[in-house]
């Protein structure tokens, strides 16, 4: 756990921009914040330090009565997403205060967390990069199969953790060491070098590291 401040955002998409030396840089555009602080937690009352932040405006009909009461304490309207960020030290933020994209600066390294694109039930070639079987030389109906999955009487079982077909994607994933190329605070945009997990319009958490 990094225990450093972060911000919730929406992945807008990817593009490329030119650096000053003429090289083209692939960037992901993230619409980050502004995220109001909904709740503060500190070591004295809760046992640990954290802030709860919210992102994405929601209509009243989409928010449960319990959450409506919780949001009313911050008095900043209703939101779709909330997220708790654990911090090493007690935060200097007040409830209701905005966290904006300005907390990041160009050149800084960040880690971005998102939910990867769901691929459904996939075979071993796509899921684990197995090589499969040859296309010809007598091979029939086994071109994408995993081959042998174990030995014989000894050990007499398939080992735990054996790479097999199954569900792929739609898991929470974090990419570290992504460089911030530019911050556009007036438009609430962060441009991060390289790819980040998740589909377009997916919810991402950008944290300092």
């Amino acid at each position: 756990m990094t225990e450093k401040l972060g911000i919730l955002g929406r992945k807008v998409g990817m593009t490329r921009i030119f650096a000053n030396d003429g090289s083209a840089v692939a960037v992901t555009v993230i619409e980050a914040g502004p995220c109001p602080v909904i709740q503060k937690k500190d070591a004295a009352t809760d046992g640990y330090n954290a802030v709860q932040i919210a992102f994405g405006e929601a209509k009243e009909k989409h928010v449960t009565k319990a959450m409506r009461g919780h949001f009313a304490k911050a008095d900043r309207g209703l939101f779709r997403n909330t997220c708790e960020i654990r911090l090493a030290e007690a935060p200097e933020l007040e409830v209701g205060q905005d966290i904006t994209a300005e907390i990041f600066a160009a050149g800084e390294k960040v880690r971005v967390t998102g939910t990867t694109i769901g691929k459904g039930f996939q075979g071993v070639m796509k899921r684990w990069n197995f090589a499969g079987m040859p296309a010809s030389h007598g091979h029939e109906k086994v071109h994408r199969s995993p081959g042998s999955i174990g030995h014989a009487t000894f050990p007499g079982k398939v080992f735990k953790g054996k790479k097999m077909p199954g569900h792929m994607g739609n898991v929470r994933q974090t990419t570290s060491n992504l460089e911030v190329v530019a911050v556009r605070a007036d438009e609430n945009l962060i441009l991060v070098k390289g790819a980040v997990p998740g589909p377009k319009n997916g919810l991402v958490l950008v944290r300092k590291q």
Partner: protein, 115 residues
């Protein structure tokens, strides 16, 4: 206008002249060698223009010491100092890959008739 379009539009260069496949162009490239910066000129025929915003490129082909040389330039790269159109050519397609199979006199492009 979407956010991505807006970011890409800011990157575009409006000072590059319009040219087509078949035109002879001089591309002035900024080359950085260690500390020094100098301009290198690449002159040849445009054999392909690939459309796009920041992804747009064009390919220039020339014959250097009897060897065909092709170079792909990003249309909106800040490394391009300027592009000069030397001569407009009369061609009947947009991708002139057939020039790769031709040599000498046959590989010439006729200039465009401007009445």
């Amino acid at each position: 206008m979407t956010i991505i379009e807006k970011i890409e539009r800011e990157q575009l260069r409006m000072d590059i002249p319009e040219f087509n496949a078949g035109d002879t162009v001089k591309v002035h490239m900024r080359i950085i060698e260690g500390e020094k910066e100098r301009i290198q000129v690449f002159q040849g025929a445009v054999i392909r223009i690939s459309k796009g915003t920041t992804n747009a490129t064009f390919t220039v082909r020339k014959i250097s010491d009897g060897v065909g040389v092709e170079r792909v330039f990003p249309m909106h790269s800040p490394s391009i100092e300027r592009v000069e159109v030397v001569q407009e050519g009369r061609v009947r397609r947009s991708r002139l890959y057939y020039l790769r199979n031709l040599k000498g006199k046959a590989a010439r492009i006729k200039p465009k008739n401007r009445w």
